[in-house]
């Protein structure tokens, strides 16, 4: 009986059930830029997955004597300073960039949602304390965070994922907390509370699903910057431990000095980074627009 009443009240307000998502998908399909973004992403995921099949050369081994050669039939993207095939390196680099980007965002989401949910759900002193800590983390430039984690744990892919992920956590935490705090006063939550639904149930069943959508949008956009951030860390020399492994950021920054003598070495990894970042951005924007319940289209 009580459940029925709850159900009635809940249904008359936005909910994270099938209705919203089906609408969103429909709107997304009509959004040109978002589709373009999706295609860009798909190309790179394909490239990353099929790298061992498509690449003709080992990305870590090259002939020094044939270094810094321009694009040719044998090497469509040229060779780098050490004579390695650039095309193979871009393909294998996609694996790293996308993997590390995705895992980093997931790490950030994991930490962020836990902290944000506790802060937003509990409120009061717990919230204040957690937000103070987040403030300090936000005031520390992410670079120190990244250097710190790598200095502490050493170079390597896992450390990079942790470093980037943890630097995103405060942002996700704040976002979720903000949404939750706003939702606390929403009609359907007040109603659920007034009929005696236990706190954690309200949180999990009613508040979180609604609060998650902005997080999802932000996460997609974060993927875009994660790719750039990972590249930036590669720039820092905090890339994967072994420099022979192809990683876009390191490739880009190693070649920065070849701007005039071998611009193709900057162009191809640079284009890869930009296109994948643009792809995720477009998709994220599209998601944000299509998930916006206020749009009547």
């Amino acid at each position: 009986m009580a459940d029925q009443t709850t159900a009635v009240i809940v249904r008359s307000t936005p909910r994270a059930s099938r209705g919203l998502w089906r609408d969103a998908l429909r709107r997304l399909r009509r959004n040109g830029p978002a589709i373009f973004g999706l295609i860009c992403i798909a190309i790179f995921i394909l490239g990353a997955v099929l790298a061992p099949v498509i690449a003709q050369y080992d990305p870590t081994i090259g002939n020094l004597a044939s270094g810094k050669q321009g694009p040719s039939l044998a090497h469509p993207m040229g060779t780098d300073l050490l004579g390695r095939d650039e095309f193979s390196r871009v393909l294998y680099g996609a694996r790293i960039s996308l993997t590390v980007g995705v895992v980093a965002v997931l790490v950030g989401l994991a930490f962020g949602t836990v902290i944000g949910a506790i802060a937003g759900g509990a409120g009061g002193k717990v919230d204040a304390l957690l937000m103070r800590i987040t403030d300090v983390l936000l005031a520390v430039p992410g670079i120190l965070l990244a250097i710190g984690i790598v200095a502490w744990l050493g170079h390597g892919q896992i450390q990079i994922m942790l470093a980037v992920g943890i630097s995103y956590a405060p942002i996700f935490a704040r976002l979720l907390r903000g949404s939750l705090l706003a939702l606390r006063e929403a009609e359907f939550v007040v109603a659920a509370r007034s009929i005696g639904t236990p706190g954690h149930r309200i949180l999990v069943r009613h508040m979180l699903p609604n609060a998650l959508t902005p997080l999802i949008v932000q996460a997609t956009l974060a993927l875009a910057t994660a790719i750039i951030d990972v590249a930036g860390l590669g720039f820092l020399g905090l890339g994967p431990g072994d420099p022979r492994i192809a990683e876009w950021g390191e490739m880009l920054t190693d070649s920065a000095r070849f701007l005039q003598s071998a611009p193709y070495l900057i162009f191809f990894p640079g284009a890869a980074i930009v296109i994948s970042a643009v792809g995720f951005n477009l998709l994220g924007d599209g998601l944000r627009e299509s998930l916006d319940p206020r749009l009547k289209r």
Binding site: I143, A151, I266, A277, V278
Partner: protein
């Protein structure tokens, strides 16, 4: 309002304190030593030990920290470990360059971003909008140093239209007084020097401002679109007001709010971007200074600089929030 400000300022103190402790510990725990930086290839275990003694680095950590804190509270920001120069003096020499860069970048970003955003919002999802969106995405995604190098290559090396480095041409003999190149040039009253100082600001402003430009454009566009769909705008239109009146009075005034918030928040990002820009364009600002200091393990300089940055960042945040409350009558803080 006053209580709110007071609360924020008081709240900032523990943040800064915590930051200083965290920074201190972190820097000391990193491998490497200013002694190594001083000696370079001449480092031997004996000499390193000797220098560490002179610098007081062999004291227990808490002693070193209290020492630093004590001096800080007296307004003494310490001196560089490497060349002994007081941090405050070097800061006054270098900060103006970063400010010039930042202002230049902001003028570029806002001056171009708001009109572009409004243009894109006029016909949402039209082809102008599409182009502006893609352009701004590229602005966000292209690394600053790549953009910087390319700008220099095209405009300085190939076309010889603009200079490649520095704040001003040393051959013009402008005496550094304030270390703001434009002001120093104005002080000489010589037109070629003044023109030269502006010319040196153009490319770096574009490079540094590329990301804020993209963001301001997108926020303006989003904000204008959102406000245009509001009921009161529709009412205004229904009332028969000219489009221009609707624009200026109703749309832009409300659209400004998120834009100003974002601009204020860009300051932190601009500082980070300034580091790259100063390196590419060889500007003697605090960005490149922090880089060198970190490389050299110049603890005192890094600690003091980052505390100064954090203070600036928090102050700007506070000003932005106050400004926001000012502009938006619906938000008032107790």
């Amino acid at each position: 309002m006053l209580r709110y400000i007071l609360r924020r300022v008081l709240g900032a103190i523990p943040v800064l304190f915590g930051l200083s402790v965290a920074l201190f510990l972190f820097l000391r725990l990193l491998p490497g030593d200013p002694a190594e930086a001083i000696l370079g290839q001449h480092a031997t275990p004996e000499l390193i030990k000797q220098i560490r003694e002179t610098l007081g680095l062999d004291q227990p950590l808490y002693v070193q920290y209290l020492d630093y804190l004590g001096r800080l509270l007296h307004g003494d920001f310490g001196a560089s470990i490497i060349d002994g120069r007081p941090v405050a003096d070097s800061f006054l020499v270098r900060f103006p360059a970063t400010i010039e860069l930042t202002i230049g970048a902001l003028i570029f970003a806002v001056g171009l971003g708001i009109p572009l955003g409004r243009l894109a919002a006029r016909h949402p999802n039209g082809w102008i909008d599409g182009m502006v969106t893609v352009l701004s995405l590229f602005g966000i995604s292209i690394p600053i140093f790549v953009l910087g190098y390319t700008l220099v290559f095209v405009f300085a090396v190939q076309l010889h239209w603009l200079p490649a480095l520095g704040q001003i041409d040393p051959r013009l003999g402008v005496t550094p007084v304030t270390h703001f190149a434009i002001i120093d040039a104005l002080l000489t009253g010589r037109v070629p020097a003044i023109v030269d100082s502006f010319a040196h600001l153009i490319l770096p402003s574009i490079a540094l401002g590329s990301i804020p430009l993209a963001i301001v454009t997108r926020i303006t566009r989003a904000s204008v679109i959102e406000v245009s769909n509001e009921d009161y705008v529709r009412t205004a239109r229904a009332k028969g007001l000219t489009e221009r009146r609707v624009n200026d009075r109703h749309i832009m005034r409300n659209a400004w709010l998120p834009v100003t918030t974002v601009i204020g928040l860009q300051v932190g990002g601009l500082l980070a971007g300034a580091v790259l820009t100063e390196t590419v364009f060889t500007w003697n600002g605090v960005g490149s200074w922090v880089v060198t200091a970190i490389q050299n393990h110049d603890y005192i300089v890094v600690q003091s600089l980052i505390l100064i940055f954090a203070t600036i960042f928090l102050t700007v945040n506070l000003l932005v929030d106050i400004g926001y409350a000012f502009l938006n009558p619906r938000i008032r803080y107790g």
